[in-house]
């Protein structure tokens, strides 16, 4: 099952979806667009300790992490 992990005040919220289910994939894509539209940065895990920033929804991605906008502090 593919996962979309959203960082939030609770730590993180995970949304799983079946890449073979068209409705679930559509919902995941809508979530991707909504979060990136709000300024979240999406990162896909590509290997142990490796990630890449993604700007387009990839239904084949096993794990996608959404991080809120960065701020200096």
């Amino acid at each position: 099952m593919a996962q979309q992990i959203v960082m939030d005040h609770t730590g993180d919220t995970r949304h799983e979806f079946d890449a073979g289910d068209a409705a679930a994939v559509a919902a995941a894509e809508a979530r991707f667009k909504e979060l990136t539209g709000l300024g979240f940065t999406a990162a896909e895990r590509t290997g142990p300790g490796q990630a890449k920033i993604v700007r387009a929804f990839n239904p084949a991605a096993e794990e996608t992490l959404f991080m809120p906008r960065l701020q200096g502090g």
């Binding site: 609770t10 993180d12 990162a43 990630a51």
Partner: protein
């Protein structure tokens, strides 16, 4: 059924200087606990039992997520030292991400000395594991962009004057001098070319 716990060798000592809060004056109220081969902030002890007992709070979830996304070498270092190193994707510089959520990123030179401290985090997120994970990913994939948003601080809090002077020379005076020299060379070339 309780999972097996690490051998517990706790003893409390008032640390003269915490490795995780070097800006705090020595002998301050910082208390550290030795738990097996880990040294942790006393206030963080609540996180460790939670990991074993599966209690659900933001810090516990965040640390679990962080561990899943670290490389094997980073995870081993994190287990030993509660911090891990990353390499900046644009400059190749080494950064040390210390356990924490603020002013916790050290920029290291080739001799592993701290040359600058950075502070940046995702908005609305305070769980330390989440902040550290975001810092790791951004430095490894969009280093320059992340550091443009970050605040930076001197490595030695007792020597801000020297740091400010060096930063002024490096970031204001040097570019200005180079700009003037370049402009002078261009003007001289134009004059010579036009035969004036």
């Amino acid at each position: 059924m309780l999972p097996a716990l690490m051998p517990l060798e706790p003893f409390l000592r008032a640390d003269r200087q915490s490795p995780y809060f070097p800006e705090m004056p020595p002998g301050d109220h910082q208390i550290t606990v030795h738990w097996g081969n880990r040294v942790v902030d006393f206030r963080d002890l609540v996180v460790l039992p939670s990991l074993f007992y599966g209690l659900d709070n933001a810090d516990v979830k965040a640390e679990k997520l962080l561990r899943e996304w670290l490389s094997p070498a980073q995870l081993a270092q994190f287990d030993r030292e509660m911090r891990f190193d990353v390499i900046g994707c644009d400059t190749g510089r080494r950064y040390r991400i210390n356990y924490g959520a603020a002013v916790n990123v050290d920029q290291l030179d080739r001799r592993s000395r701290v040359v600058r401290r950075w502070c940046f985090s995702p908005q609305g997120v305070s769980a330390r594991g989440d902040v550290m994970l975001a810092q790791k990913i951004m430095l490894e994939t969009r280093e320059r962009w992340a550091l443009r948003k970050a605040f930076h601080y001197p490595p030695d809090p007792d020597a801000p004057a020297g740091y400010i002077l060096k930063s002024f020379l490096r970031e204001v005076v040097l570019p200005a001098v180079l700009g003037c020299v370049t402009g002078a060379v261009i003007v001289a070339s134009l004059v010579a070319w036009l035969g004036l």
